[in-house]
Amino acid sequence: MSYAYLFKYIIIGDTGVGKSCLLLQFTDKRFQPVHDLTIGVEFGARMITIDGKQIKLQIWDTAGQEAFRSITRSYYRGAAGALLVYDITRRETFNHLTTWLEDARQHSNSNMVIMLIGNKSDLDARREVKREEGEAFAREHGLVFMETSAKTAANVEEAFINTAKEIYEKIQEGVFDINNEANGIKIGPSHSPTIPGGISGPGGQGSAQGGGCC
């Protein structure tokens, strides 16, 4: 299938927060209550439309367990977007966000769009993290925030699509160098290269955070 752009995403966060379920809900529109522990990396893909353009999302779902941190780190490379997920019914998953964010910032390219997601909004009765806390954390760290439910599908579409919209805007603004695949963006085979961004935007490759491979 032809597409204008391909965006690579990565989903990160503690084990059991529902990363694999979010991916399954987005790609297959279904919910699996018992999901095996993700050991390695799983892939998902779906086509969306933004601004009349077909955009393919290629999503890498990672293992959340502490033991796999070093493996997960290598998957930040070449990701244009990240969904950082915590579980609103487990405070500790929220407390670990700082570590995840540090990891993500250190190992990804500096333009990566990060979306903060408080998952399991259907379990409001068991809530341990207030919505306002999520919002405050996002504001403080410059992230986009959303509460979702992989079970009821609430806001799942929006989470993936809003992230894509933001990446798309950054391309329009010329922030992303789309000719550099290390940024997690590929121009589709069908697309004529009339998009801005051929030139590296302000601060585009400036950061030397040990990320991109060029």
Partner: protein
């Protein structure tokens, strides 16, 4: 703890990759014909794919071939492999488009021709392809079927015979023979493909049958056994260096026909030069372990048939592995001399009686391609695995795959600048030191636990004895009825 998986597994991995059941219906006659009659067999060329137990879609196969990220791929359904054996792989850093390693596993019951019983078997194989993915892929799809055909041809009575002084031939000798013949047949089957540029591959097979483990290897992939406090290699690496005597002896015996005046099978202590002609130099012939003197003459200046050392050694300056399948069309660089006569498909097979080993739950064997072994020693691999398998949670079924993943990760390392480097031994002051290079090759690792097989085998023996007792009882009953 493996009980709950057992039944699901029986049905899940019963058939082969091709979805066929190989039981006693297969015609053994045709098999014998094929090997004895030299009829060229053409194999259908299949499109590229990853091992079937990974369950990857075409799209996922594409994504997994990301040479910049080199994602480590593990099976998403762990029960697809017998005993939830662990598996992990990652692609090379760009030397070939596809991951040319392959792996497969199969389990089933071997119907014995003359004995009124069937024998459970489990088999794992791994292949490291070179110069193309085709031969490795064909081996993945066909080798197990060929081995099973060979095994079914063994008279059941002898196969089941134990260490009986009276019998000259034991079951295990015939099983080893079956594997050896199957390897030769596999090599013949890929000839057409290999001639057309399909390359070649190494091969590892581990067969569990009748209480024993058979580890076969051809090439520089390796199987090791890791026990609680020791580890040892079950196969030997076949490189031009390790097989120097075999290769050079063949060249020595048939020098006119095979070396065509381009190469010498002699080994010189120092690379001889034009200006050394007429002087006395140290040399040795094939199979010599010491050295001798000779006066250097013009033919001695020919290129060495075997050059280099260890992993960097080459036959005719071209290939670095001396056993496996394929390479029928391979010619020496520049001279165009055929290399295939110097390559062998014969595996070395080792058998271990698992009933005599004092096994525990975490004992296992590791099959891996040289992507792992080039940078990780047997001992390091054993330590990494023991550490990963030690904790109780998550359960061992998960830990086996986690162990495989850890090993691949250790060998792949991480990208520092533009170079893949190993993790630092001393993380604290790792800032300034230059880290050793990691493997840029395809890396595949399989971790097979030994304990579950032993349990299954003991259960099988018990069932056999019970059935025998039933039979005797019912016979006695019927005779007493008659009287």
């Amino acid at each position: 703890m493996f009980g709950r998986f057992k039944y699901a597994l029986m049905s899940a991995v019963g058939g082969s990759e091709l979805g066929l059941q190989y039981n006693n219906e297969s015609d053994n006659e045709t098999v014998t014909d094929v090997i004895n009659s030299n009829i060229p067999i053409t194999i259908e060329t299949k499109p590229y794919s990853r091992p079937s137990f990974l369950g990857l879609t075409n799209e996922e196969t594409q994504v997994s071939a990301d040479h910049k990220v080199r994602p480590i791929i593990v099976p998403r359904d762990l029960s697809r492999l017998p005993w939830c054996a662990g598996y992990a792989e990652c692609i090379n850093a760009g030397k070939s488009t596809w991951n040319e390693d392959q792996a497969t596993a199969v389990r089933g019951d071997l119907k014995l021709t003359d004995a009124n019983t069937s024998l459970p078997y489990v088999m794992f194989s791994m292949f490291d392809g070179h110069a193309g993915y085709q031969v490795a892929l064909t081996a993945r799809l066909h080798l197990h079927r060929i081995i099973l055909e060979r095994l079914m041809a063994i008279p059941g009575e002898i196969l089941l015979s134990e260490n009986n002084e009276a019998t000259v031939i034991q079951g295990k000798d015939l099983i080893v023979g079956a594997i050896e013949l199957a390897y030769r047949q596999m090599d013949q089957m890929v000839e057409h493909q290999a001639q057309k540029g399909g390359g070649g591959c190494t091969s590892l097979t581990v067969l569990f049958l009748h209480g024993k483990l058979y580890a076969a290897g051809a090439g520089d992939s390796r199987t090791i056994m890791i026990l609680e406090d020791s580890e040892r290699a079950l196969t030997r690496d076949h490189t031009p260096d390790s097989e120097s005597s075999r290769v050079r002896a063949l060249g020595y015996l048939k020098s006119g026909e095979l070396l065509k005046g381009h190469f010498t099978s002699l080994e010189f202590k120092k690379r001889p030069l034009q200006r050394d002609i007429g002087s006395t130099v140290l040399y040795r012939e094939p199979y010599m372990t010491g050295w001798a003197y000779k006066i250097l003459s013009q033919p001695d200046l020919r290129l060495p048939l075997v050059s280099g050392q260890g992993k960097r050694s080459r036959v005719m300056g071209t290939i670095g592995v001396t056993r496996g399948f394929g390479d029928h069309g391979l010619k020496a660089a520049n001279t165009g001399v055929n290399i295939k006569p110097f390559l062998s498909s014969q595996p070395e097979v080792q058998s271990i009686n698992l009933e005599e080993c004092n096994l525990n739950e975490r004992d296992c064997i590791v099959l891996a391609t040289d992507g792992l072994w080039d940078v990780i020693s047997d001992k390091t691999a054993a330590n990494i695995l023991r550490k990963t398998l030690a904790p109780d949670t998550p359960s061992l079924e998960y830990r086996l795959t986690m162990g495989a993943q850890e090993l691949v990760q250790a060998a792949r390392g991480r990208l520092v600048g533009r170079v893949w480097r190993l993790k630092s031994e001393m993380q604290e002051n790792g800032e300034d030191e230059i880290l050793p290079m990691a493997s840029v090759d395809d890396i595949s690792v399989m971790v097979v636990p030994l304990y579950p097989y032993l349990c299954e085998h003991k259960q099988w023996i018990k069932t056999q004895q019970q059935e025998k007792r039933h039979l005797i009882n019912s016979l006695e009953l019927s005779t007493s009825d008659a009287t």
